[in-house]
């Protein structure tokens, strides 16, 4: 039986190994998903990794600290807020293999040396949608391959997508590559998502 954890939004539960895609419209809507998710993780003692645009770092971290309230301190390294430049684009270009290696390193380290028992990761992909078209294709390949990585560790990954920057074609591909979707505050099970082998075969 898989481990179930609180998503952070009342009534929403996720299970270890879940790979969720959340669509949002505007930063306020993004933070309505992002912040409860991280706050629940911090409260539960999970390792929380947040990859967002550098311009939002202070606002997000500041809000989280404020939300924890007086007398609540985080465990060392519990929250890592990383700018996209240091994660998705750390070599100057987006390469799915490197990204998967990055996640493997940071998650295994958190569960090993750092001593955490569960990892929550969240990545905002707004950066990719304003870059060159080729990045979008690579991003979809990466999203599909991420499904192979998820079962390896006790973890949940939440991918954030700004609907204002998405094309309809991209939405279709995201639906096909995420087993669970978070649409306007509701988790939608997606039994019809395509396994990586199926999707990548059709996508290539």
């Amino acid at each position: 039986m898989s481990l179930t954890v609180d998503f952070g939004i009342p009534g929403l539960q996720v299970a270890a190994g879940d790979h969720l895609c959340a669509f949002y419209d505007g930063l306020a809507e993004r933070d309505d998903v992002l912040l409860p998710f991280l706050r629940a993780g911090l409260t539960a003692g999970d390792k929380c990794i947040c990859v967002i645009d550098a311009s939002d770092l202070d606002a997000v971290v500041g809000d989280l600290w404020a939300d924890l309230g007086e007398g609540r301190t985080m465990v060392e390294h519990q929250l890592e807020v990383l700018p996209v430049e240091r994660v998705y684009l750390r070599t100057g270009a987006f390469v799915p293999d490197l990204m998967l290696d990055f996640w493997d390193d940071i998650v295994s380290s958190a569960l090993g040396a750092e001593g955490f028992s569960f990892v929550r990761s969240v990545g905002d992909t707004t950066w990719a949608l304003r870059d060159a078209p080729g990045v979008v294709n690579q991003l979809i390949v990466y999203e599909s391959r991420l499904n192979r990585f998820l079962p390896l560790y006790p973890q949940v990954v939440l991918c954030l997508y700004d609907i204002g920057r998405l094309s309809g074609e991209m939405i279709v591909d995201l639906v096909k590559t995420h087993p669970k979707l978070l649409v306007r505050g509701a988790i939608v099970e997606n039994p019809d998502y395509l396994e990586p082998d199926e999707f990548l075969a059709a996508h290539s």
Partner: protein
């Protein structure tokens, strides 16, 4: 053979999975579009998802009434769109095939939902499968529904915004009305409680926070409220003041004049006062403007009331003076005088002033006489009457000083003053008036400007007192008849010349100056007089007799004028 989904029978599991996944994607896409309130976003998502569901390219979305809500190449071309729109007009509500240059196949899928007709148009190099066309048809249906909902939201939002704007406007109007009521009530209180101009200035100052000045039409300060009252109060020169007033009348509303916002108090068109808000920084807004306008109305009422009182008092005074000069019954007149707070028991004289020897008793002359009389404390019963100004003086003054004071007030010109004898009772005012008139006429006949008192008329006073003037006329006729006839026939001035010659004691020099003729002319006229009458003008008896005659002649002329 195909199944209901549009897939051929015997399709592989992978194909089925792909098909189901597309359906799920379409469902999520529909959810996102339906949740969106942005019609542009909905159109963009719908068009850009077409390649995911069919081997086709997005072309355009058309909605009746809204036109082309999204277009892709080649529909960015206006002429092409016009042709395509004509084709869409011919389609039914299900949609159908259309022709687009460059596309072997093009189809307009009817948008679902809402009451507006609309189409999602796609094109392709070859006709897509039935399954793919079904996806596009569903996509169009969902797009239409999402657009209809978004339009409804937009309409509701617009209605809500209009309602909010209307509410805000109503609230602003109510607030303005409340402020206006507050101003109205406060200023009405000033009027009802008879708080005068001081009270009005204070009320406007308290309502607006700005210092307030009330001036008369000449720029004299009547009331000030608030800090910074200038001392001395500045007064613009008369021409400048008149220019400002003309501008304010022309504007017809409160107008800025330097550091002031100024309104006029003009009851029935008469300019009586000026109300100013001292506002050097121009900070006064609509609230202050309303207070100023209301204040100007209250000031106009107050000034009109004061003027009406003054006019009533003046009318009563005029009636009293008329009654006194006409010799009305004592008791009636005395009771009216007491009503006006005037003591007729004091001794009086009737004094008459006239300007330029004519009837120039206009307002300027009247005001000059009034101010001179006020300065010399002659009393307050002063009226304009038959071209002159009549003063019922309750004290004696050097009357020539009074005349000079009038001239000073006038700034030059001419003025004669006639002073009647004392009157101790109201019934004697008519006599004093008659005497003042006679003194004035004597001046007039003598052609000189001075203050003449009846008491000082001497023989004239004696002559004027004779009731039967027949003997006097015969006396004059006996001695001056030939000269009077000569003057009448030849239009000469021998009687006047003789009169001045005798009054000047036989001095050629003084006589010439008095009648403005050359000395030789005077001598010629005197010789004419001698020739006509045979009188010896050097004989003392003759001269006495002739002087009495000429004075009698002047007296008769003056009496006849009356």
């Amino acid at each position: 053979m195909t199944v209901a989904s549009g897939l051929p029978a015997g399709s592989s599991d992978r194909v089925w999975r792909e098909h189901l996944s597309n359906l799920r994607s379409l469902l999520v896409l529909s959810m996102l579009m339906t949740e969106s309130e942005d019609q542009d976003q909905i159109s963009r998502l719908a068009l850009s998802s077409i390649p995911s569901f069919a081997p086709a390219r997005p072309r355009a979305i058309y909605v009746a009434g809204a036109g082309w809500v999204a277009v892709e190449e080649p529909c960015t071309d206006a002429a092409l769109r016009a042709g395509l729109e004509a084709q869409l007009q011919g389609l039914d509500n299900v949609g159908g095939e259309v022709e687009i240059p460059g596309d072997a196949w093009a189809w307009a899928f009817a948008l679902g939902g809402g009451r507006r007709r609309g189409f999602l148009v796609a094109g392709a190099a070859a006709e897509p499968s039935k399954e793919a066309r079904s996806f596009l048809q569903v996509l169009a249906q969902q797009t239409g529904a999402a657009l209809a909902i978004a339009r409804l939201h937009a309409s509701e939002r617009s209605a809500a915004e209009q309602l909010a704007a209307l509410n805000a406007s109503l609230e602003a109007t109510l607030a303005a009305l409340r402020r206006s009521m507050e101003i109205h009530n406060r200023l009405t209180e000033v009027a009802v409680r008879d708080q005068g101009q001081e009270g009005l200035a204070l009320a406007i100052h308290e309502l607006t926070g700005f210092p307030v000045a009330i001036e008369d039409r000449y720029g004299n300060l009547r009331a000030w409220a608030g800090p910074g009252e200038p001392d001395p109060y500045p007064k613009a020169p008369a021409p400048e003041r008149e220019k400002l007033l003309r501008r304010l009348i022309r504007e017809g509303r409160p107008t800025r004049d330097g550091g002031r916002l100024v309104a006029l108090a003009r009851p029935r068109g008469d300019l009586l006062g000026v109300l100013s808000l001292i506002d050097p920084t121009g900070a006064a807004g609509s609230h202050e403007l309303v207070a100023l306008e209301h204040g100007a109305t209250i000031l106009a009422l107050e000034l009109a009331r004061l003027r009406s009182l003054a006019e009533a008092e003046l009318r009563l005074k005029r009636d009293l003076v008329d009654a006194l000069l006409d010799g009305t019954d004592d008791e009636t007149v005395e009771s009216r005088a007491q009503g006006l707070g005037y003591d007729l028991g004091r001794p009086h004289r009737v004094v008459i002033a006239e300007s330029n020897g004519t009837t120039r008793a206009d307002d300027t002359f009247f005001q000059a006489v009034r101010r001179a009389a006020r300065d010399l404390s002659l009393g307050t019963l002063i009226v304009a009457r038959k071209g002159t100004v009549v003063i019922l003086a309750n004290r004696d003054v050097p009357w020539e000083d009074f005349r000079q004071a009038i001239l000073r007030e006038l700034g030059g010109g001419r003025c004669r003053v006639g002073i009647g004898g004392h009157c101790g009772r109201p019934s004697e005012f008519a006599r004093s008036h008659h005497e003042a008139q006679l003194a004035l006429r004597m001046e007039r006949s003598a052609g000189i400007d001075q203050a003449s008192s009846f008491d000082d008329l001497g023989v004239y006073r004696l002559l004027s007192g004779i009731e039967d003037l027949g003997d006097v006329e015969r006396f004059v006729r006996d001695r001056l008849g030939k000269l009077i006839d000569h003057d009448a026939q030849r239009n000469s001035e021998l009687v006047r010349t003789l009169t001045h010659y005798l009054e000047c004691g036989g001095s050629y020099e003084r006589t010439s100056a008095a009648i403005f003729v050359h000395r030789s002319t005077l001598k010629y006229r005197l010789q004419q007089i001698r020739d006509i009458t045979g009188y010896d003008l050097n004989d003392p008896d003759t001269r006495f007799s002739l002087q009495l005659s000429t004075r009698a002649w002047r007296t008769l002329r003056s009496l006849r004028e009356g």
